[in-house]
């Protein structure tokens, strides 16, 4: 069995050469990851990020955007490392949603 990420040599279609700048979402996820793996914080290693991304189900690996995959992996790892809990994340999401509805 090989992972969803281990794709060297597989059949695939033509390459989409179009270039687009990172969105602000992409930039924030990128920045967050770089800060977390920086030795000053050492929340986890980039190796762990890769491992978390490799554990996606095929359909998620294929359908999520690159930085969505990163963010899902960051979520898994900060919980794994007891930096945040799922409950805290869920509560904060609810809080932010309520703020946005409340305007």
């Amino acid at each position: 069995m090989t992972g969803v990420h281990d794709i060297g040599g597989q059949d695939a279609g033509p390459i989409d050469l179009s270039d687009h700048a990172l969105s602000s979402f992409d930039q924030r996820v990128d920045a967050m990851l770089m800060l977390l793996v920086h030795p000053n914080r050492g929340a986890f290693r980039v190796d762990a990020l890769r491992r978390a991304i490799e554990s996606y189900r095929q359909q998620d690996y294929d359908s999520l955007s690159y930085y969505e995959r990163w963010l899902g992996a960051v979520r898994k790892l900060v919980v794994e490392q007891d930096i945040l809990s799922e409950e805290e994340i869920a509560a904060k999401i609810a809080e932010l949603k309520a703020q946005k509805v409340g305007g």
């Binding site: 069995m1 090989t2 281990d6 060297g8 491992r51």
Partner: protein, 104 residues
């Protein structure tokens, strides 16, 4: 021959170990079971197979730059016979190539 502290030497023939992995590893599947030549001994690095699980990655693993002939990897390779793939492979994924099976 130039040797590092590891098992293999520059110019030495190596074969990438086979085996499925259900853990994090940095050896691509398409190179498993393939024969190559050690081009360069990169040095010792913490083991990513441990770092991925929040362990310290010790002992460090010797890393080798290995060159593979495209024709040895893909039987139907379209291109020049000297085309090659180069990858860095950790020592525990390499074994000696049985001499009689390697044709240069």
């Amino acid at each position: 021959m130039i040797t590092g502290s590891g098992k293999f030497t520059i110019g030495g023939l190596v074969r990438v170990r086979t085996g499925a992995t259900d853990y994090h590893c940095r050896t691509p599947d398409f190179l498993k079971g393939k024969d190559g030549v050690v081009e360069f001994i990169v040095g010792k690095y913490p083991n990513p197979e441990q770092l991925a699980y929040h362990k310290p990655g010790l002992p460090k693993r010797e890393l080798y730059q290995v060159r593979f002939k495209q024709g040895d990897i893909w039987p139907c390779y379209k291109g020049s016979g000297d085309d090659a793939i180069i990858a860095d492979i950790y020592e525990d994924w390499l074994e000696q190539t049985p001499q009689e099976t390697y044709h240069d």
